[in-house]
Symmetry: C2
Subunit: 302 residues, 2 copies
């Protein structure tokens, strides 16, 4: 079995949920430490309009600085539209992440387009990025349910996946935007995608809104997902409304994997150190457990 | 498939971890509401010495009061020694829970006896309780690892299980006292017990110390565990050291089960109400998610 890959999305999905903008130097410190910890991919930021989302306004600058350095992890950036793609290509983003919401309402609110139109545009952008020599990941957002619409039809989600596969886009992320994912559902969706295309590289991006986050991540891994998107400390969601939550905490998942002898190459102490600093910076306790408890000393189980 | 049963242990495992003693009237209110919510078993308290653990000093009184009432749930009590058993029999506890620690160090610290001696005594007490017409559950504590010893040999755990089964004790709980349980480990242990005795009624009691609690509970259910022990809001562990954590939150698990149409007979709104009151009483946020977010409106997934 291939090892599970970790895609750290805290600097993007975590920090965009915070009202306070993190200074570029501090972001760079966290990103560099994550990118040298042994995790596989680090998401640096999102190519949105800086006036609309000041938390992500330095994304281009971050990539320009990081491009001059050497780190262990692949760096990724989230692209939402053609202008963002041009910026991402300009600053040399190695892995470009794009996505479509399976929820018609969510799609229209986010992009002004329905799901079908958005799918066509995302595929066109993804092919352009590939043609420019970049790695590409395409996602289905609100894949497991939507805060606006509730349940989202499984065939609707798989329809987008089929469109991706037919376009030759085989690195596919299922994103649990609202945190509605359920282990059985995640297992079934991942299996269906691998049934459609055994060579697909499936990623799971799960938010822990209702307490099922880690259980859904384990279901995804058991079903054959290759990559899990996680956030340091579980940072993310909205600390004020409490109805959204962050991704599964990176260090908790890595600790769990290491319990069975997997990913011992990742420096858990370093991950815990970053999360402690992130929690200290925001002045509150984050959802993660292991950064508070420390790892189990008998790391590999009997 | 038989439905998953919920054993609410918050009034015992949750409250014994709090330094402040909860007034009897308030405990009664929480216990009555949980026992009428549709959960299957509620653990009222522990028959320990009241001077050693004042949080549990009113356990006999609680059972005497509750014995005069009619509630939907079976009531359970934890018994640690012969004196406790006599008290439990005296106040008419319907389900008597007993256990042995698989960790020699933990066993000696808790009982002054090693695991082997303690197993013999627990089996003798369990048979006495059965002879007195009570239902009995026997557990293996520190089954998945120990805060003192680290990893605990799987054969050591299964050896205690075999002793229970040979004595005709088939309701067996695997307790993750230190929170070291890992989904793969839980799945394997549950399967091995059912392999030894397909009619065994296996219970999983998991603490969420390292963020794998709910994932381990799902692994237990998938492997055939019949009952899950949970705590309202995830109350438990030690809020000061942060190295212990509570059980998986009752309302988060019930919410998860209801997402796939299971246990729709349990009144989730009532569970959430109790947890809100418990959190308010202790004046702090508990680990549970659903009592903060509210349930997903589209309860049963597509």
């Amino acid at each position: 079995m291939k090892p599970i890959l970790i895609h750290e999305v805290g600097p993007r999905d975590g920090l965009q949920a915070e009202s306070a903008v993190v200074p570029t130097e501090l972001k760079l410190d966290w990103i560099r430490r994550m990118a040298d910890s042994g995790v596989d991919i680090v998401q640096v930021g999102s190519f949105v309009r800086g006036d609309r989302m000041p938390q992500m306004a330095d994304t281009d600058e971050l990539f320009r600085i990081l491009a001059k350095e050497t780190h262990g992890a692949l760096l990724s950036g989230l692209v939402l539209n053609e202008k963002g793609l041009a910026r991402a290509l300009d600053v040399g983003v190695p892995l470009i992440c794009l996505g479509v919401s399976a929820s018609e309402t969510h799609s229209r609110k986010n992009t002004g387009m329905g799901t079908e139109e958005a799918t066509g545009r995302v595929i066109a952008m993804a092919l352009e990025a590939k043609a420019a020599g970049r790695q590409v990941q395409v996602s289905v957002q609100s894949a497991f349910g939507c805060g606006f619409e509730g349940a989202i039809g499984e065939d609707r989600v798989l329809g987008i996946v089929v469109a991706y596969l037919e376009a030759g886009l085989t690195a596919i992320s299922l994103a649990d935007t609202a945190g509605h994912a359920h282990p059985e559902q995640v297992r079934r969706y991942v299996r269906r995608i691998l049934g459609l295309h055994p060579g697909a590289e499936v990623t799971a991006h799960i938010h822990d809104t209702y307490g099922l986050g880690m259980a859904s991540v384990y279901a995804a891994m058991e079903a054959g997902a290759r990559t899990i998107e996680t956030s340091f400390g579980g940072l993310g969601g909205c600390p004020f409304t409490k109805v959204a939550a962050g991704n599964v905490p990176t260090e908790d998942l890595v600790h769990g994997l290491q319990r069975t002898g997997q990913r011992l190459d990742i420096d858990l102490v370093s991950l815990v150190g970053v999360t402690k600093d992130v929690a200290k910076h925001f002045g509150r306790e984050l959802p993660g457990c292991v950064y508070k408890t420390g790892p189990i000393q008998a790391k590999v189980m009997a």
